[in-house]
Amino acid sequence: MLKSLYGTLIALLILVPAVLKGAEIFPYEYQIETLENGLKVVSIPLKTPHIIAYYTIVRSGSRNEIEPGKSGFAHFFEHMMFKGTKTMPREAYDDFLTQLGAGTNGYTSDDYTIYFVVFAGRENLERVVKTEADRFINLYYDEEMLKTEASVIEGEYYASVSNPGRKINEVLRDTAFEKHSYKHTTLGYLEDIQDMPNQYEYSKLYKQRFYAPDNTILLVAGDYDHSQLMDYVRNYYGEWEKSGYVLETPEEPDQLEEKRIHYEWPTRTLPLLSIGFHGPAYSDEVLDKAALDLLGRIAFSQTSPLYQKLVIEEQKCVSLYANFPDRRDPHLLTINAILKDNKDLSAVEDEIFKELKRLKTELIAQDTLSDVRSNLKYSIARSLETTDGIASTLAFYISLTGDPGTINKLFALYEKTTPQDMQDMANKYLTRKNSTVATLTGGNNQ
């Protein structure tokens, strides 16, 4: 039996810290080196047999789409990155990954686009470095290829067109933001998607601006030798030319009065409520974001009094939760509810604001704060079970600051945050005039 196991399975290694209490949340040693062209490499050699996770983090997301008519372009460009090069066209690139049996893909968010190749065998590392470097430096596509891929984006839009959750997020952001590029979602506005076939020239400008070593970080984790990795990286990425482009995102003006938006869904659906408050950007130094994040989790988690009332006892809601994503620029803290009946929308909204009012005058109990810190620690610990989990978790934090140490700094901030800090942040940010209320109803949901 054991023989067959060795033949098949990749032996597991313990990656999660044995005891979390008091330990740093991200315990792995890493090395950082920066090439002359600005390409930063974060390397986490592990003793995990076979597996290597190779992540390329490009700081290109919806945030970068600052020009009118260009919403969704970061995501579109992610698709174009799979078109290959003159020396390794798309079909050859696909075949390479297929033969490798790699887990591979790309994904785009507000602040970043991440490409990953997760594969087995350190003997394959050089080929992966070479191939990835080639496509980032020498990407080639013609106008026809771009036009065809633009249709795929429209297809991706259609893939979730029946999801009202996506729609309410779209209208909330569009209403809440006036100037910042977070106004649109990563997919972009449909009219901009439909205009993508005409954006060949802009796509070249986009690549020149953002797909450059000084806007990219390599993150490699797993079973390899660090110095060997760096030899490969220097060899294959050395010729990549800097961009030097400085992105200036439009500053979002202060919101001066409450906003509201309603969307009527074409078919029957459960009513949705999403309330957004402009909040601070991610920071591992200033505690505003960390304190609000903790507050949102405490006030709207499954253990919160309001959740118990609305979901468990009165059963007006199917779900209730807060979400405050870490973003490079100020984003929205949202409180979201799926209801059962349209007639309760107003009552649920009132209950949420009533709870926020309470949080501005009553301090959160220390035990409750300890519980949420504990929850966050164990949640992160579970995400670090595999090599890929370590890389994907860290990749997100690296995209925010460029510094892998930011995750530990953030958790240190969580430890420092007091109930008074949370109350102060509630008073500062969670006000009516800083809010946008979005509702969605559809059909006969009675």
């Binding site: 196991l5 990656l15 044995a18 249709s151 429209e154 253990t303």
Partner: protein, 511 residues
């Protein structure tokens, strides 16, 4: 060293056992099945408690009862603790109990840090062994199940909607022939007593597989076994399923709703599962034809990459549920499987063309087989890609359980053993033996259904337009063939129904 406290070790043993207590040598009469994957020093512990009961065990007229009953365990209180109290206990541990519902197997799973193992398990065992069956939990969970059927499924997720319609079509008058959530009519009729009775009837030692993986203490499995031994020893006999119903011609069902995009799923039952030797060559063929969310997929290349029609196009030899990443989730074992093609939503204007294209590609696959080059590429791909299937201990445990279900010591090892020996001829024989392009169920979610029906039955040409005015000549030439590709669709084989009428009962609506 930041990671100096990390203890490295390999999994040292893998154990599957039945009817014995672990290591203490104590004889027991209990009937529990146990699957262990101990990994000493690993700070995580994975639980997978399988119940060999699923929606196929739902009584007629009470479809969805297994889902409601098991949801009462996973999302309700125990006798001693309310659901609120359970959440409060779990929250600091970041613990939760996930429930996967299948046709023949349901799984309660959780991953917990060993710091919290005892505290978590104390609650978890009560949830499963001493459920509260409170009225307020029942009302909440039943209401959620109804809302899923009446609103979410038919209105908020057309891709899943299409797949569920395909299931209804394939498994008419069969225990598989309803969604795991049941029907609106049946769920409305359920009482708390029925839930309790279902639990008493099926939550039996003989139906349960206790799966544990990770760094649990040596005596922990014994403790779990002793606790679960309070359940009745009985076992529910394995379901004797009727033969699967093969379609007669192209059998089409269109769910009509206002939508800019059309979702399509098509397929037919297969007479084999992973347990059969022919599964392996067939798997290579279907992986080539439509590997899930991979560029390898031939359909993906033809429909998405060449023509930009949609986000992706895939094919499957099994009922497929996506797990971590894009890998198949384990523990959805079934006695009967089906072949399917999943066409992700595309513009309504191109729906007829793409249905033609998918069926034409299937016809070409069957008539021409796959090439030596593609055979070798796909086989290499599967040999390497399956090495990534089970990266977590929980996944490994899941695959271990699946291996035993299908009669293997280790299915993933079997892949490495068997695939290199498969020949191209075996693959092409399997294609001809198990696949066909003329007798297929096709589920479509779209608007203006009558117009689609007319186009399909009259074989109206279905040319499409591209955003790219300079499409490659060879594609345009192929389009000329696809747009008139003949489909033998008989009007009486096209059923149309308003989307809101689905899942009220386990019958297909419309005519």
């Amino acid at each position: 060293m930041k990671n100096s406290f990390i203890i490295y070790s390999f999994i040292f043993v893998l154990i599957g056992m039945t009817s014995m207590l672990v290591s203490c040598g104590e004889k027991s009469t209990q009937k529990l099945n146990v699957e262990l994957l101990p990994d000493e020093g690993n700070p995580l512990v994975h639980f997978r408690i399988l119940v060999k009961i699923g929606s196929a065990n739902d009584p007629v007229g009470k479809e969805g009862l297994s889902a409601l009953t098991f949801s009462m365990l996973a999302d309700g209180g125990s006798k001693n603790m309310s659901y609120k109290e359970i959440n409060q206990r779990f929250y600091p541990m970041a613990a939760s109990v996930d429930l996967n519902l299948g046709k023949e197997i349901s799984v309660f799973s959780s991953t917990i840090h060993s710091d919290n193992l005892e505290n978590f398990y104390a609650v978890f065992k009560e949830m499963l062994l001493d459920p509260g069956f409170r009225e307020e939990d029942f009302i909440r969970i039943k209401s959620n199940q109804l809302n899923y059927l009446e609103k979410t499924l038919v209105s908020n997720n057309d891709e899943q909607f299409g797949k569920e319609i395909l299931n209804l079509m394939m498994y008419k008058d069969h225990p598989y022939g309803h969604t795991e959530a049941g029907t609106v009519e049946s769920v409305k009729s359920m009482t708390l007593d029925e839930v309790n009775n279902f639990y008493q009837e099926y939550f039996l030692q003989g139906n349960i597989i206790i799966g544990l993986a990770g760094g649990f203490p040596t005596d922990f499995p014994n403790k779990v076994i002793r606790d679960f031994s309070v359940l009745p020893e009985r076992e529910t006999p394995a379901l004797e399923l009727p033969s699967q119903r093969l379609p007669d011609g192209l059998d089409i069902c269109i769910a009509e709703k206002p939508t800019p995009a059309t979702a399509i799923s098509m397929g037919f039952p297969l007479p084999i599962t992973k347990a059969h030797k022919d599964y392996f060559p067939l798997w290579i063929a279907v992986s080539h034809f439509g590997e899930h969310r991979q560029h390898l997929s031939h359909l993906f290349q033809k429909i998405r990459e060449e023509r930009g029609q949609n986000y992706g196009d895939y094919a499957y030899t099994d009922h497929f549920i996506q797990g971590r990443g894009k890998f198949p989730a384990p523990n959805y074992c079934r006695q009967q499987q089906y072949f399917s093609i999943w066409i992700r939503p595309l513009a309504n204007s191109n729906r007829h063309f793409v249905i033609r294209q998918a069926l034409r590609e299937l016809k070409i696959l069957i008539e021409e087989g796959i090439s030596q080059e593609r055979f070798e590429l796909t086989r290499t791909y599967l040999l390497n890609y399956t090495r990534l299937y089970a990266q977590t201990l929980g996944e490994r445990l899941g695959w271990q359980i699946d291996s035993h279900y299908y009669g293997y010591e280790d299915f993933l090892a079997e892949v490495q053993e068997r695939l290199p020996k498969i020949t191209l001829e075996q693959v092409n024989e399997a294609i001809k033996k198990y696949l066909n392009y003329e007798n297929i169920y096709i589920a479509i979610v779209s608007e203006d259904a009558e117009s689609l029906k007319n186009a399909l039955t009259s074989n109206t040409p279905s040319p499409i337009e591209y955003a790219n005015p300079n499409m490659p000549e060879e594609i345009l030439e192929e389009d000329l063939i696809i747009q008139v590709f003949h489909l033998d669709v008989q009007p009486e084989k096209v059923r149309i129904a308003n989307a809101v009428h689905f899942f009220k009962t386990n019958k297909l609506p419309g005519n």
